[in-house]
C-alpha cells in the first residue's frame, strides 16, 4: 500500500502544519513559500477529513495477568 503521505499520523501532520506556519513567519523565498503553503492546504484538508470521519475503536482486554502466562500474549 502506498505509504507516502497517507500514513502520516494526525500528530505528525498537525506538527508539520505548525512548522509551515513558523517557516512562513520567518520569511521564505516566495517560491518556497508558495510550495509550503500548498502543502499546508493539503495537510489541512487531510486533518479536517480525519476529524470528521475517524471513529474510536473500543476493545476489551480479557486476559488476566496471573496464572495465564502463555495466553497473556495479546495482539
Amino acid at each position: 500500500m502506498a505509504t507516502k503521505k497517507k500514513e502520516l499520523s494526525f500528530a505528525e501532520a498537525f506538527t508539520e502544519l505548525e512548522t509551515i506556519t513558523e517557516d512562513l513567519e520567518k520569511g521564505l523565498d516566495l517560491d518556497e513559500g508558495i510550495t509550503k503553503f500548498e502543502r499546508g492546504l493539503e495537510l489541512a484538508a487531510m486533518l479536517k477529513n480525519r476529524l470528521s470521519t475517524a471513529e474510536n475503536k473500543i476493545e476489551t482486554i480479557k486476559e488476566k495477568y496471573q496464572n495465564e502466562g502463555d495466553e497473556a500474549e495479546e495482539e
Partner: protein
C-alpha cells in the same frame, strides 16, 4: 479423665481452634511492630480486649491506636507463653475515622518516598492514538468517559481493562491491569484510571499503597480521575495527571475536534496572510527597483548622449584640422613644384649657357674661324716649331677635316 501435659494441651487447643474462622471488630490499642517483622496490637470494645498477632508482610493497611478495624482470622495459643492470641489473616479499616487516618499515614509515607514528585510527572501526547482504560464495566464512569471521548475526538484505539473498583478484589484486579499494561501494552500513549464517586470505604482501593505503587510503576503515563471533584485519592496524587471526574479525564486526554478544526483554520489563515504580506513586500521592492532602474537608465542614456556630442564636436575639430593640414600640404606641394620647375628651368638655362660657353671655347669653334690645330703622332698639340723635327708626320685638324703632312 485424660491427662495432658501443658504442651499437649496447648497443641490440642490449637488443633481445635484452627478451624475457627471469624471476623472480629474492635478498636486498636497498643499497636507496635517488633524486629520490623512482628505486629502486635490489642483489639478491644468497651468491656473486653483481645491480643492480636500477625506478620508485617501480611499487613496491607496502616494501623494506628484508636482505629476501628475488622479482623478476619483464627484464634490460637503460643505454647511457650500460653498466651491466647487472635491471628488475623486480613485486616480491614472500618469507618471514616480509620480510613481517614490510614489515608493520612499512607499519604505521608508515599510523599516522603517521592511518589508525588512533580518532576516525575510525564507528558501526554496532544493527539493520542492508543489509550488504555481501567475501570469497572458496570460503572457510570465507563459510559461517561466513552461518551465524552466520542463526542470530542475520533480515531483513537481504546483498550479496555475491566476491573473491580471496590470490594475485596479491587486492589488485585487493578494491580493486574497495570501488570498487563507494563508487560504487553507499552505502546499505549496514555492510561486512564477512573471510577465514580462513593464513600471512603468504597474508594479504599484507590487509597491503598498497592494501587498507588501500581500507578507509580506504570510504564505508560496515567490520568487518574477517582470520585467526585472534591475527592483526591492517593492514586490521584501519584498519577501523572489528575482529573476531577471521568468526564474531565476524557477532556484532558483528547482535544475537542471543533477547537482543533478552528486551530487548523487559524494556521492556514495566518499562513495565507503571511504570504500575501510577502507578495506585497516583494511587489513594492520590485517597483522600487524598476523605478531606480529607470533612473539609472535615463542617467546612463543622458551620459552617453553627452559623450556622443562631445565626440562629435571633437571629431569635427579634428576634421577641420585635417583639412587645414591638407591645404597646407597641397600649398607646400605647389611651392615645391613651382620651385622645382624654376629650378629646372634655371638649370636648363645655365646648362645651355655652359653649353654655349663650352661651344664657344671649344676647339671646334676656333676651327670654324679658320684656325687649325696641329698634333703630333702621339696626339700632343704643337704649339711651338721647336716641337717638330724634320720629316715628322703631323696631323692638322681644320674645320672640315684632317690634313696629314710632313715637316720640311
Amino acid at each position: 479423665m485424660k491427662e495432658y501435659t501443658v504442651t499437649q494441651f496447648h497443641k490440642e487447643m490449637n488443633h481445635l481452634m484452627k478451624d475457627i474462622h471469624v471476623t472480629v471488630v474492635g478498636e486498636i490499642s497498643g499497636f507496635n511492630i517488633s524486629n520490623d517483622k512482628f505486629v502486635w496490637f490489642t483489639l478491644k470494645d468497651d468491656k473486653s480486649a483481645m491480643s492480636n498477632f500477625m506478620m508485617k508482610f501480611q499487613l496491607k493497611v496502616p494501623l494506628e491506636d484508636g482505629m476501628e478495624i475488622r479482623v478476619t482470622g483464627s484464634p490460637g495459643i503460643f505454647p511457650r507463653s500460653g498466651k491466647y492470641v487472635f491471628k488475623p489473616r486480613t485486616v480491614e479499616l472500618m469507618g471514616e475515622g480509620a480510613l481517614q487516618r490510614a489515608f493520612e499515614i499512607t499519604k505521608a509515607k508515599l510523599e516522603e518516598e517521592g511518589l508525588f514528585d512533580p518532576d516525575r510527572k510525564r507528558e501526554f501526547p496532544r493527539f493520542p492514538e492508543r489509550i488504555g482504560l481501567i475501570t469497572s464495566p458496570d460503572a457510570a464512569a465507563y459510559t461517561d468517559f466513552i461518551r465524552i471521548l466520542n463526542n470530542r475526538w475520533g480515531g483513537v484505539e481504546v483498550r479496555f481493562f475491566p476491573v473491580n473498583v471496590q470490594g475485596n478484589n479491587a486492589i488485585n484486579s487493578i494491580q493486574d491491569a497495570f501488570h498487563l499494561i507494563n508487560s504487553f501494552h507499552e505502546d499505549l500513549d496514555a492510561v486512564v484510571l477512573t471510577r465514580g464517586g462513593g464513600s471512603m470505604e468504597d474508594l479504599q482501593a484507590f487509597n491503598s499503597e498497592e494501587v498507588a505503587r501500581a500507578v507509580f510503576g506504570s510504564q505508560v503515563p496515567v490520568i487518574c480521575g477517582v470520585g467526585h471533584e472534591r475527592d483526591t485519592s492517593l492514586a490521584d496524587y501519584v498519577a501523572d495527571l489528575r482529573a476531577a471526574t471521568p468526564t474531565h479525564a476524557a477532556e484532558l486526554l483528547v482535544p475537542d475536534k471543533e477547537e482543533v478544526s478552528a486551530e487548523i483554520r487559524g494556521l492556514i489563515s495566518s499562513q495565507s496572510h503571511r504570504l500575501e504580506q510577502q507578495v506585497s513586500i516583494l511587489t513594492q521592492a520590485v517597483d522600487r527597483q524598476m523605478f531606480e532602474l529607470g533612473h539609472i537608465m535615463r542617467d546612463h542614456v543622458t551620459f552617453l548622449k553627452d559623450q556622443v556630442a562631445r565626440f562629435m564636436s571633437a571629431a569635427h575639430m579634428v576634421s577641420i584640422d585635417i583639412q587645414k593640414k591638407k591645404d597646407q600640404i597641397s600649398h607646400q606641394k605647389q611651392l615645391v613644384q613651382t620651385y622645382a620647375a624654376t629650378l629646372v628651368s634655371m638649370s636648363r638655362q645655365r646648362l645651355e649657357q655652359q653649353e654655349r660657353l663650352i661651344n664657344s671655347l671649344s676647339p671646334k669653334a676656333v676651327l670654324k674661324r679658320g684656325y687649325s690645330m696641329t698634333t703630333a703622332e702621339d696626339g700632343s698639340i704643337i704649339k711651338d716649331p721647336s716641337q717638330v723635327k724634320k720629316g715628322q708626320a703631323l696631323k692638322t685638324e681644320v674645320e672640315h677635316g684632317i690634313i696629314h703632312s710632313n715637316v720640311t
